[in-house]
């Protein structure tokens, strides 16, 4: 059968107006159903004709899934809230700057206007071998085309490669983990709440998906507790282009500093493994240490311990090391005249 791209196959479209309707549809159609939020990841799969779902359940009409609202000393963000709404929300800007910056760094203005926070967190791996539609491990096959003697794997994993070396590409996931967010997951069987950290899974656990979401489940909201509100945040995304690009490595951290001493910190790095990596060993190491170059350097070295580079991504080791260093020490702007 010849392969052809760029024309979406026909599907039945459902636009449920309530969450219950949506969950009912997912139950009814099972594996035939495809969930579409902002659609920006979905369209790639559909237009490439790699996935041909019989049914698409589009969530845009469910009003209850949108918006940012205060919840205690934290906030709750509906999963269908657009990245632009997250970025422009005063509560997010004021209290959770790390999320604001993460969301602002994602994709392009138009995509942020349409793409949802839930979608950004739950997007699929961007490995170009996987996305080509070949039967790699992640696609249910038994090859990793990205880790071969001739593979081009600059963007791939340095940690946790279990057959598949794809990475999580999300710009907002590290911020959510740094903020200790809770992910609210609904299915027709009820609700479960998982820590942001546990929302993401590695290939060892499940090689065909990046999150813990099971068929029939929907991420409905993200609850960010007030724990880290107003903490010292650091985010940085290093990419080839300053817009419409996925991170080579990105970092998000939250830190409580007392005078010159680091009380506690949460540090998360993405695009180095199939799941965003919370650096708990580093967090423990820096807690109670003075915030200085020496602590930062040691933290950087500790962060990259155990990294296994592929043919073209050894740079991720110093990059991750330096980003962790900066998260502790703070960035360095250098030239004042830089706009």
């Amino acid at each position: 059968m010849a392969v052809i791209h760029d024309m979406m196959p026909a599907f039945e479209l459902f636009q449920p107006a309530s969450l219950d309707d949506a969950l009912g549809l997912l139950d009814r159609h099972g594996a035939d159903a495809w969930v579409m939020a902002g659609g920006l990841d979905s369209f790639d799969w559909l237009k490439d004709r790699i996935r041909k779902p019989a049914v698409v359940v589009e969530l845009g009409a469910i009003e209850g899934l949108r918006g940012v609202k205060a919840s205690g000393d934290g906030i709750e963000i509906g999963a269908m809230t657009t990245l632009t709404e997250v970025v422009t929300n005063p509560l997010v800007r004021e209290k959770f700057g790390v999320l604001f910056q993460g969301a602002e760094a994602a994709a392009s203005p138009q995509i942020r206007n349409q793409g949802t926070i839930g979608g950004n967190l739950s997007q699929d791996a961007r490995c170009w071998y996987y996305r080509a539609g070949w039967s790699c491990y992640r696609a249910g096959g038994n090859v990793c085309y990205a880790d071969t003697p001739t593979a081009v794997n600059r963007e791939h994993a340095i940690f946790g490669a279990d057959r598949c070396v794809a990475v999580n590409p999300s710009d907002t996931a590290p911020a959510m983990i740094a903020l200790d967010a809770k992910m609210v997951i609904r299915s027709s069987k009820g609700e479960r709440i998982v820590d942001a950290q546990d929302y993401f899974v590695g290939p060892g656990t499940d090689i065909t998906r990046l999150t813990t979401l099971q068929p029939g489940e929907l991420l409905t909201a993200i609850r960010i507790p007030g724990t880290w509100a107003g903490a010292e945040f650091y985010t940085e995304k290093v990419a080839d282009r300053k817009v419409w690009d996925f991170p080579l490595v990105n970092i998000a951290s939250a830190m409580k500093v007392n005078g010159s001493t680091i009380e506690r910190a949460r540090i998360v790095v993405n695009a180095v493994a199939a799941q965003p990596m919370r650096l708990e060993a580093v967090e423990q190491f820096v807690a109670g240490k003075p915030r200085n170059e020496e602590t930062a350097n040691a933290a950087g070295e500790l962060a990259v311990r155990g990294a296994v580079p592929l043919a073209h991504n050894a740079y991720k080791i110093p990059l991750m090391r330096n980003l962790v260093k900066r998260a502790i020490r703070g960035g360095d702007n250098g030239w004042a005249s830089t706009s």
Binding site: A10, E12, E58, Q110
Partner: protein
């Protein structure tokens, strides 16, 4: 400008003794009758479910007019605009939400028309490049800025850039050059004439504030 009229004539008799000029069906100007031909999609597909979750005939507001269109479930707004409504000013550069040539405003917010299902736009307001100038032909300030500064080269990206700018200026009417660049950074120009584009769009912002 003598050449600009070419192809702008209204739809006329197809084939059969007609001149070539008659034969070419022109752009259906905004506001003209809806084309009934389904250029890109079959109107009935064998195997397509007979009863769907919603009507295929939907109403969307395009450039201030309510349009009834027969839209397939998998049809994107860009395809509906270009192939059903004849609004070919919205360009397809990549069809993958990467170049911005198809940028239109949906409820005043810039979106990639290639990456929205038309069915999600029921009862929403779509504005395209064709709906920007006043009915008497007076250009929108951003368009005027482009003309004044000879912005853009091949201009295939131009409608998208202009729509992105119009949308961005609604949220930030007085941007710095850097802010405007960030605002239109979802649009790609392969002539790479970005500096002159920014000059032209800044001019457009200035004219918008004066308007």
């Amino acid at each position: 400008m003598s050449d600009m009229d070419m192809g702008h004539t209204a739809p006329e008799t197809p084939r059969g003794g007609a001149s070539r000029r008659d034969f070419i069906k022109g752009v259906i100007a905004a506001g003209a009758a809806v084309s009934t031909s389904a250029y890109l999609f079959r109107t009935s597909i064998a195997g397509q479910p007979a009863t769907g979750a919603g009507e295929r005939l939907i109403s969307i507001t395009v450039n201030g007019q309510v349009r009834r269109v027969d839209v397939l479930k998998q049809e994107t707004l860009a395809m509906t605009l270009r192939y059903k409504l004849g609004l070919t000013g919205t360009k397809l550069g990549c069809d993958r939400a990467e170049c911005g040539a198809c940028t239109v405003l949906v409820d005043d917010v810039p979106h990639y028309a290639c990456s929205m299902l038309t069915h999600t736009l029921r009862n929403r307001k779509v504005q395209t490049i064709e709906g920007l100038a006043a009915p008497d032909g007076t250009l929108h300030p951003v368009q005027q800025g482009v003309v004044s500064e000879q912005g853009f080269q091949c201009a295939f990206c131009m409608p998208g850039f202009v729509m992105a700018t119009v949308g961005f200026l609604k949220t930030n009417p007085n941007p710095t050059r850097q802010e405007l660049a960030h605002g239109v950074s979802g649009n790609l120009c392969r002539c790479q004439d970005y500096d002159k584009i920014l000059t032209a769009l800044m001019k457009g912002a200035e004219l918008s504030r004066g308007a």
